[in-house]
């Protein structure tokens, strides 16, 4: 096939399936007795709360963050304001280019959002590319003199916005769907906070892109800690937040580099010429069905059977989590 399709969820404080739409919120009213609390966040995913006052809510090295939602683990608190905050790198393809073609975004925020007449209060979560040509294209550009009613459709950028399609206890909801073409070798998921303090937001962004069919590495990496620091990795294959759509030029090179850098982790390499999926510290028992259906390998070859089942299980669980699957993990003995 000439192209592969990549897809990634970026989830902050919402449940993937239900979005917990009406009863989800954080309390940003400083007069409220429950100020700083977040409610009904889904386990494992955290909302974002900007609160710079570290005198009232200090961060102690031993006891941690005293801000309510950070303390109870329902948010990640930022102690400095930002205009643009990068939340995640969706993919980074050195020497390759991808075509972003679809995006679905839902954000819940404490601010009025895009319908507010004052642009100072605008807040959104969006995807953007390296040179930021398209930064916030998907949420900005809609001013009150252009449109005052929602749903709103922009025929130029071909996106559709629903603003506050239903009520939440505090703040607003923005839903954006976009279908188009953006060529880029790197894509970020970020929030436009516009330097505001005492704000919160939660979001789900689902991004789809094409990339040239290539051998791919299948290993869930941390972009900052595992990927960007190794030139060898960046020379061998690209990074994707879903751990799957990581194209390179040559499967042998990818296997060699991964053997060298991650001898004790589980990983796989898919050779798209032989249609062979090479497994390292893995057996087919740990390979999820959705990955087989996506790649359709003719053969799977076990380079090394797992010496420790927990290593293989981590690989499986992390791939499932990053790709929105909740398969029952295999039993570990």
């Amino acid at each position: 096939m000439p192209f592969n399709t990549g897809m990634a969820y970026n989830i902050y404080g919402m449940d993937l399936i239900t979005f917990t739409p009406t009863n989800w919120y954080c309390q940003s009213n400083t007069s409220a007795s429950d100020y700083g609390k977040c409610y009904n966040t889904s386990a494992g995913e955290k909302a974002r709360f900007v609160q710079t006052d570290t005198t009232t809510w200090p961060i102690d090295p031993t006891t941690g963050d005293s801000f309510p939602c950070a303390k109870d683990g329902t948010c990640i608190r930022y102690t400095s304001t930002a205009f643009n905050r990068t939340l995640a790198t969706v993919f980074s393809y050195p020497n390759k280019q991808a075509i972003v073609y679809r995006m679905v975004l839902r954000s819940h925020t404490s601010l009025p959002g895009i319908s507010d007449p004052s642009p100072v209060k605008l807040l959104g979560v969006a995807v953007y590319n390296a040179v930021q040509d398209y930064q916030y294209t998907f949420v900005s550009g809609v001013h009150t003199y252009e449109s005052i009613t929602y749903p709103y459709y922009d025929p130029v950028f071909n996106y559709k916005i629903y603003y506050k399609p239903y009520s939440i206890p505090a703040g607003s909801v923005v839903v954006i769907r976009w279908l188009g073409n953006v060529f880029t070798s790197i894509l970020y998921f970020g929030a436009y906070e516009n330097g505001q303090n005492n704000i919160w937001y939660a979001a789900i962004g689902q991004v789809y892109w094409f990339y040239e069919s290539s051998p791919i590495s299948v290993i869930p990496l941390n972009y900052e800690k595992d990927y960007i620091m190794y030139q060898e990795l960046r020379g061998a294959f690209g990074f994707s937040i879903n751990g799957v759509d990581q194209p390179g030029w040559n499967a042998d090179d990818m296997i060699r580099v991964l053997r060298e850098l991650f001898p004790n982790r589980a990983w796989a390499v898919f050779d798209d010429r032989q249609y062979t999926l090479y497994l390292y510290n893995l057996t087919p028992d740990y390979v999820p069905d959705w990955l087989i259906d996506k790649l359709s390998p003719t053969a799977m070859k076990v380079l090394k059977a797992p010496s420790d089942a927990s290593v293989a299980k981590y690989w499986l669980d992390e791939l499932n989590r990053r790709n929105g699957y909740n398969q029952t993990p295999v039993e570990t003995v």
């Binding site: 069905d289 087989i292 259906d293 003719t298 053969a299 799977m300 070859k301």
Partner: protein, 71 residues
């Protein structure tokens, strides 16, 4: 009138549990399409993953291999 009752046979030696067969189970041979040619391989098992079925065998390179089933 003679009786047709069967005559019980004298008790023989007690039957001992049979030991497991010393010969390994017969391997199934399947024909797969490999490197553009047909190859007959002895398989060790079958695995269903996703919408595919794979046969398991040790390939010429010595690696445990799962090849898409011809069936």
């Amino acid at each position: 009138m003679s009786s047709n009752r069967p005559v019980p046979s004298p008790p023989g030696p007690p039957k001992l549990p049979q030991p497991p067969s010393a010969t390994p189970p017969i391997k199934k041979k399947v024909r797969i399409r490999k490197d553009g040619k047909w190859a007959d391989v002895d398989i060790d098992g079958e695995v269903v993953k996703g919408r595919f079925k794979y046969v398991k065998f040790i390939d010429d390179d010595g690696l445990e291999t799962y090849w898409i089933s011809p069936e």
